[in-house]
Amino acid sequence: MKIHEYQAVNLFKEYGLPVPEGKLAESEEEAVKLSEGFTPCVLKAQVHSGGRGKAGGVKAARNTEEVRDAAEKLFGMRLVTRQTGPEGKIVRKVLLSETVDVVREFYVSITTDNESGNPVLMMSSDGGTEIEETAKLHPEKILRIPVSVTEGYKNYQGILAADFLGLEGENRKELQSVLKGLVRLYGEKDCSLAEINPLVIDGNGKLMCLDAKINFDDNALFRHPEIAELRDPQEEDPREYEASQTGLNYIHLNGNIGCLVNGAGLAMATMDEIHAYGGEPANFLDVGGSATSEKVKAAFRLLLSDKNVRAIFVNIFGGIMHCDTIAEGIIRAVSETKLELPLIVRLEGTNSEEGRKMLRESGLAIIPAEDMKDGAIKAVKAAGGRV
């Protein structure tokens, strides 16, 4: 799960990381009001994406007039960054942040190294830029310090880090405190990424976190209700959000063949199969291992809410899931949604004979598929593509 910068800043503060003063505005008027006695300041669009500065989502203002101008431009703006895709994201909240003079910039982050099963701190003296670029062009400019998941942060790690970044005097102690707080926050709140980009030395010679980004492990949200509350559904694809509420795993794509599959691996493979025979999947959809007929219905509603969909391909390999249960769900969903699109169904595995028989005898115009290949080819044809 992702959160907004202003929410991440609050968490940084809670863990003793130095952050600029900030105020959150939800309208132009509020921005103007909050800026009184607070200028000069920086207005930062709050959307779940990096690269906001480059896209015009960050504006400096010297006085209230300039705050008004900037706020007018930012609120309601469709911010298109490298991460948002062409459809962009609407700006609904703006963070007013104290202006900070920047003397030097660094990059600091922590994430989990899946191979070792430990968090790893990453830092670079190239702050403010995209770390992926640095990693590609100048890997030697990035220092990686593994942190033990059981032992936590150790001071020697901060000394290594300060040496690498070329810090001196008080800044070295400040870095210790930043890293210690960051590692503690990362572990205690079950983060999957915490990033300070940039961490700067400000005009007063102090370290300061000028941006804050935190992602959380969805699987651990059950033990952090205070974090789960920070979720902003408006930042998510509405269909993906609805799916997550019904226990389905859905990702919207740009093709025209709606897919309904059980199991993530098979769902991905089904997308590949459709693609291989000249079609484009409209989505990834995993109904899970224990789908009920209710869930199948919800899945159909999701697929049909995508107006690009020209055909639906159901690909089920029943293990735990019984094909007759799926068949029942399909029959109900087709009748209740008055489905008019071509529907191709492949049922294999547990109780597949019963399931196929139910579909045949339902009198519905369902196109049966022998196997995954047959189904993909029929779906591509039905969607108007060439095989």
């Binding site: 191979e115 651990a220 993530a264 590949d272 990834f284 995954m372």
Partner: protein
């Protein structure tokens, strides 16, 4: 012969009194798995399917001599259950549970480091040695005893591969679902090594997917050490970058862990690549013919 489990494996079920645990215990018993007991804290002394239920794995192991355990425990408690089984000296632990917090698995990984315990999963379908022992949730009847090992990150895609083999009369020695989570203790590498060492496995099918570097490591091993033919499929060629495709491990970031990179590595290592998922069986047949062992792998 087979890897990890066989007809002599004695299995415990942790979480046997839960809905999932009960259902799949029934299925495993039906398949012929030698399940010796169940474990659910606080339910010790009860019986289920005529099997004794114990409060702890330690007690269950002492009383029954179990050497494997399968975990159907909710995500919040699953890591605990893994540690309990490891601590009691269980040799093979299969964790079916989906949705365990990453940090919990990181801790488990550190704890198991250097120990002999083998943990399969989490978020996996389990392991099966056809005709002998099934530990997990896969539909048993699609399998056929034989000489091809299968290792896969996904559940239902594994079934797909199994069926394609069985339909061609090619049986399996052991089928291992290593699971879709990013942090795990047993990956492709460990399972490929086991298959390479197993005299009864003649060839291997490997189903990988986008994300992580397990397939690349496997390719390295295949190239340098593997004498048996390998057929491979990599799922997620069409997946968009940065999106999590259901499996938490299946996310490609910054050009790493792409399907193209994995396919290239495996091809260069000499693996026979299935270009589409419907071609897994065919790719294996090609690999077997190339090695001249197709007839040996066909069951009568």
């Amino acid at each position: 012969m087979s890897i990890l489990i066989n007809r002599n494996t004695k299995v415990l079920v942790q979480g046997i009194t839960g809905k999932q645990g009960q259902f799949h215990t029934g299925q495993m018993l039906e398949y012929g798995t030698d399940i010796v007991a169940g474990v659910t804290p606080g339910k010790g002394g009860q019986e289920i399917f005529g099997l004794p239920v114990f409060n702890t794995v330690r007690e269950a192991k002492e009383k029954t001599g179990a050497d494997a355990s399968v975990i159907y425990v909710p995500p919040a408690y699953a890591a605990d259950s893994i540690l309990e089984a490891a601590d009691a000296g269980i040799r093979i632990i299969v964790c079916i549970t989906e949705g365990i917090p990453v940090k919990d698995m990181c801790r488990v990984k550190q704890y198991l480091r250097g120990k002999e315990t083998v943990l399969i999963g989490p978020n996996c379908p389990g392991i099966i040695t056809p005709g002998e022992c099934k530990i997990g949730i896969m539909p048993g009847y699609i399998h056929k005893p034989g000489h091809v090992g299968i290792v896969s990150r996904s559940g239902t895609l594994t079934y797909e591969a199994v069926k394609q083999l069985s339909d061609r009369g090619i049986g399996q020695s052991t089928v291992v679902g290593i699971g879709g989570d990013p942090v795990k203790c047993t990956g492709f590498l460990e399972i490929l090594k086991a298959f390479e060492e197993d005299p009864d496995t003649y060839a291997v099918v490997m189903n990988g997917e986008i994300g992580g570097s397990g397939e690349e490591e496997a390719a390295e091993y295949i190239r340098n050490h593997m004498t048996k033919p390998v057929a491979a499929f990599i799922g997620g060629r069409t997946a968009p970058e940065g999106k999590r495709m259901g499996h938490a491990g299946a996310i490609i970031s910054a050009g790493k862990g792409t399907a193209a990179g994995k396919i290239e590595a495996l091809r260069n290592a000499g693996a026979e690549i299935a270009d589409t998922p419907d071609e897994i069986g065919e790719a294996l047949v090609r690999a077997l013919i190339r090695k001249g062992i197709y007839e040996h792998c066909k069951s009568s």
